[in-house]
């Protein structure tokens, strides 16, 4: 039998087909379908509670979809536990940081690099140091993650996801609370990560950051996809303007 996945475009890294999720009687996502192309930055916009984080949780395997299908390349993800999805190349950050607070920043990265990235511990040392430098955390390498500021915890989320050497990087609101200068640096960093060949899906409220780097945008509202495509066209879309008040300002 032929299905959508069988003849899948080699250009497509992740394909979500008709994905839905209910928590009890509450439907949070209704049949959302989209593709993530290899090498692109896909931005996801949507008001609070639209279901953006829930979508990430289903890609990373933290929660199971109520329906639909998600594929990474040719491979179906359903049934794969989160740790294996990470080893398959999906790295993610958490909107509310989840550091390993009892370990140092550097050791946080070592976990991802050795278990997620499959590197030996010795190989991981220099690699993780490099990632710390990229994420402006080198001078806090030996600081206990539990004592980092919120900003540094957000940096750590990104650094730790990078340390697992992902093919697909899922970023969940990492720019909130940054100064303009800091958010410019973050955009430059995201661009460098993309230029290394990493495909990125970035959920972000800070619109100018997203517009500066996204190749395409997808907009969710109340669990439904209301727009997808070229960033300029998407934000010009009247429905998007209506639901996403921030854009009109």
């Amino acid at each position: 039998m032929l299905d959508r996945g069988a003849g899948m475009d080699r250009d497509i890294l992740l394909r979500a087909t008709d994905v839905s999720k209910s928590f009890g009687a509450v439907r949070v996502l209704h049949g959302v379908s989209f593709d993530v192309h290899r090498g692109e930055v896909l931005g996801i916009l949507g008001p609070n509670g639209a279901g953006k984080t829930t979508l990430f949780n289903m890609i990373s395997g933290d929660i199971k979809p109520s329906g639909g299908d998600i594929r990474l390349g040719e491979q179906r993800l359903s049934g794969e536990p989160p740790f294996r999805r990470c080893q398959m190349g999906i790295g993610r950050t958490y909107q509310i940081p989840r550091p390993y607070s009892g370990m140092s920043t550097f050791e946080n990265l070592l976990v991802a690099s050795t278990f997620g990235g499959g590197k030996s511990e010795a190989e991981s040392y220099a690699f993780c140091a490099r990632v710390l430098q990229d994420c402006e955390l080198a001078d806090k390498a030996n600081t206990r993650a539990g004592s980092l500021t919120l900003l540094d915890r957000k940096r750590l989320e990104l650094a730790r996801a990078l340390a697992s050497d992902p093919k697909l990087l899922l970023l969940d609101e990492i720019a909130g609370g940054l100064t303009e200068e800091e958010s410019k640096q973050l955009v430059a960093l995201v661009r460098r990560i993309r230029d290394r060949g990493v495909t990125i899906v970035w959920i972000e409220h800070v619109l100018h950051a997203l517009m500066a780097v996204a190749d395409r945008l997808l907009v969710l509202n109340f669990g439904e996809k209301i727009a997808e495509g070229d960033p300029q066209e998407v934000i010009a879309n009247p429905e998007v303007k209506r639901v996403y008040m921030g854009i009109e300002a």
């Binding site: 395997g61 990470c86 050791e107 220099a126 080198a138 030996n142 060949g197």
Partner: protein
Amino acid sequence: MTSVPLSPTDATLPKVTVRRQTASGRVALTLFVIALIALVAMPWWAKTGTIRMILELCCYIAVAQMWNMLAGYAGLVSVGQQAFMGAAGYAMFVLAQTFGVNPFLAIFLSLLVPAALAVPCYLLLHRLDGPYFAIGTWVVAEVFRLVASNMGWLNAGAGMSLNVMKDYSGFERNVAMSLLCALLILATIGGSYWFLRSRYGLALIAIRDNPVAAASQGVNVGRLRFMIYVAAAVGCGLAGAVYFMAQLRINPPSAFDPMWSNVAIFIVMVGGIASIEGVLIGTLIYFIADRWFGEYGASYFVVLGVMTVLVALYARTGIWGAISKRWDAPWFPISRHLILKAEDRA
């Protein structure tokens, strides 16, 4: 399609060194080795009574450290580790007494029993959360006790004696007990330290701090918890086999005595959870308290209970936690200190 290299090339990687050992760690390691030698040499410096007392101390250290690995790291709060102590103890008695296996060899063979029993127990218990898991482990230990009380070939409620030990001289028995003490400490304390220093130790601490993030970073949380559970069962089994060999007698209430879990919880909570140092400190405090106040009976258990609660309320990290906040001088350092060469500092 060509794949783009994802990681930075070697040329762009900074020069780094990672420091694992500390001065305090070196001192403690030296003392640890000396302590092991002193344990092995006990027949030449200690009386039989002293050896028995130290053997009991070693058993407390071992059981407390196993509980520490379970509750302090893997998030598995068990109150039923006595199940595996009794199972190994009985297995050792049956092998040595019923089947005539050399008792010292029987100790090692008996460890297969807790290992084999831990597998179905874990499969049964691992779906239970928090307090339900704890209650489950207690139920398992009670079931083991009831089964042992009703098995004819374990001499049911009357228990068994290890008469074969009479074939060995007092000195030979002291040598055996001393070697077993050293082995018990090496296996449980040395083994835990080795494990915690390895990359699996990193994963274990990650699980303790945030199991959801650990899983999304590639850690097979379920398998690691399972491994710890089985290892702790074997560690407690070794302590049980050694303890009951020294006792020369075993019966269901002593073999599956919940006192072991109570004491392990006291030791780890007061000494400092999630640290080997805490286990050593806590055991020492327990042992001294036991010698001084043991004669007062039940009221002394109340004192231990009150102490545990006070520490849980006001000093979550126990005595070692308070010490290490003030002085950064671990006895068993497991951290990895990154040193970036100056020209590469960001």
